[in-house]
Subunit: 346 residues, 2 copies
């Protein structure tokens, strides 16, 4: 039971945006679109997959016979080196600026059919280590390094082989700029990091906690927009991915294993989402103490493997809207088993 | 050809957000999800449709035998009257507030199978008149009245019978609050309405204009995020839907007919989108001169009736990204026929 069973709005302190919560709307019958569920079992190796070990990519490079992760430059990256024709304008109605950067793809595993929840803790730890290494290298040249994963065809993922991406650029993206401003002004007002305060209060309250271990906390944030959205927060004072020590890396592997397993068990399917890490801008040195590294998971499913939440009309033109409360979503995720449904008795 | 063939970012002056433009990425092969195209021809009347004339709705009301539009209260509205348990909090990390309002559904036509581009100018005019009437009535009680349409199953539309929605509430939504702040500060700086200046400059330039008549202008905005996004702007000083006179109403009917016909002709399908009107807040009286009424069309299709743009990972975590430039999209829309493909020789 929860005390939020009336229509209300909640404010996201990281973005400054509001979310409309309509718990009574859960009872709405659904006659709209249903999504395809991927039931086909994938092979361990697919000779036509450009991400599998030993295969050729579009640019005709050959992938090495890698054992954990493999990272390469995206053959169709949205960002590349600066163009000589590049121009810019500060006209208030036609502001534009040249953009440069680098896009990389990170294969999580040599196995074509092994998603994050199906990987061992050692394998997950290697994914985190690869994120850390590439974050470290790219952040020497780029102020903003966006590590993310689109999982599932429904999330625009164009290759079934489990992989993520890293897009790096000198400018701050809209979202990072917004979170930077919000965290900075909270710090000025309260003398503490916004997400450090937030993590403490969520642990004390408990109603939105999904999982915690010594170093990490997973909550359905108070302001979640997507039905089963989660926020992964460090308990330690971490600003960026490269700063994780071995213990924090291992604890994060456990955290990702538990969270993604619970997600898959929710509707007994490979649970789609977009997830990614928000790091403090690379050029903030010691002054970055108002920042906390964190990961957002944005999964689209609402009621089953085939019915998703559509963020459309009202949501695009006004603000996000959700039906079930974040507290209900958290309690459903808490009860979901930590043993993957494909592995037996969950 | 256009001068923006290098990677760049553009700034949306209405929202303050940036968009990443990567024209070279158009060549990316697409192996990801494809969407279903609705090819099934719908009947003129469907006995099981809760929106058709004379049929029963979920709440067991019976629809009248209407001839143009029919408006009723949404049986599963996200907003309703204020709850007696309603609470609120201004805790900076857990801010929430009770929300109240009204949600209405507007059937555009008695015909189950007649979408906006297939309607006559008289019928379209009646839709606009209904928008105006309900806007007028609701804005007496609610500061923020959001008129919108989700078209197509891909846009979460749960009923194929052509219809739109109106959600009204006392608070300003996140988007309206943002556009209000941006238009107000532009006015303070330049002494002119942002969108009035913008419309003038777009007409003078021409490269992003899709259509214009005496009272209305349709452009692919300079900062468009969706591939074929458009912005409908009045040439006259209009702040709200209820202020349209007969000539402006008729000219808008023509504008909507042309725009939605071009959309359908683009990929020879019933072109999905979410669209909606942004009105000045109802409680701004004469001081609203910095505001301009406008409509946004957000269509998801990218390359064909089955391949859409996914606003996912990078877009959710960082900022919107597009491939083809707004200028290219505008020139494609300009060349699209104004005679609907179902009606013959286009
Ligand atoms: O109200 P409908 O058509 O049932 O529902 C649709 O539009 C609403 C308003 O944009 C969204 O909140 C829903 O996610 C969507 O499925
Ligand atoms: O890079 P991919 O996997 O080919 O493409 C996917 O992720 C990108 C980054 O979120 C998006 O811009 C694309 O729309 C999406 O289809």
């Amino acid at each position: 039971m929860n005390k939020f069973e009336f229509t209300h709005r909640r404010k996201n302190p990281l973005s400054g945006e509001w979310v409309l919560v309509s718990p009574h709307r859960n009872n709405r019958p659904w006659l709209g679109a249903t999504e395809a569920v991927a039931t086909e079992e994938l092979p361990k190796h697919d000779p036509s997959c450009p991400l599998c070990p030993g295969n050729q990519r579009a640019n005709s490079d050959t992938n090495p016979h890698y054992s954990y992760t493999h990272v390469f430059v995206n053959d169709f990256g949205a960002l590349n080196s600066i163009s000589p024709q590049a121009e810019s304008s500060t006209d208030p109605l036609f502001t534009y600026d040249a953009a440069e950067g680098e896009c990389r793809v990170i294969c999580f595993s040599p196995d074509h059919n092994k998603t994050l929840p199906e990987m061992s803790l050692t394998e997950l730890s290697e994914v985190i280590t690869a994120w850390q290494q590439h974050y470290r290298e790219l952040s020497l040249r780029y102020n903003c390094v966006q590590v993310f994963e689109n999982k599932g065809a429904i999330m625009g993922c164009s290759q079934p082989h489990p992989h993520g991406q890293i897009w790096a650029h000198p400018h701050l993206s809209t979202e990072i700029e917004r979170e930077d401003a919000q965290q900075s002004s909270y710090f000025q007002l309260h003398g503490r990091a916004l997400l450090a305060d937030y993590a403490e209060k969520e642990i004390a309250d408990g109603s939105r906690v999904v999982f915690e271990n010594k170093h990490w906390l997973v909550v359905v944030p108070f302001w979640a927009a997507w039905p089963f959205e989660t926020l992964v927060l460090p308990k330690d004072e971490l600003q960026r991915l490269d700063a994780l020590n071995d213990a924090q890396n291992s604890a994060l592997a456990e955290t990702l294993k538990v969270l993604t397993t619970k997600y898959d068990n929710l509707f007994r399917c490979s649970f789609p989402y977009s997830m990614g890490w928000h790091n403090a801008p690379a050029n903030l040195d010691s002054s970055a103490s108002y920042w906390r590294l964190h990961a957002h998971f944005y999964p689209p499913l609402l009621r089953s493997a085939t019915v998703k939440k559509h963020m459309v009309g009202y949501e695009m033109l006004a603000e996000s809207q959700r039906d079930l409360t974040p507290e209900t979503a958290a309690s459903i995720l808490r009860s979901a088993s930590t043993i993957h449904y494909k592995q037996g008795n969950s």
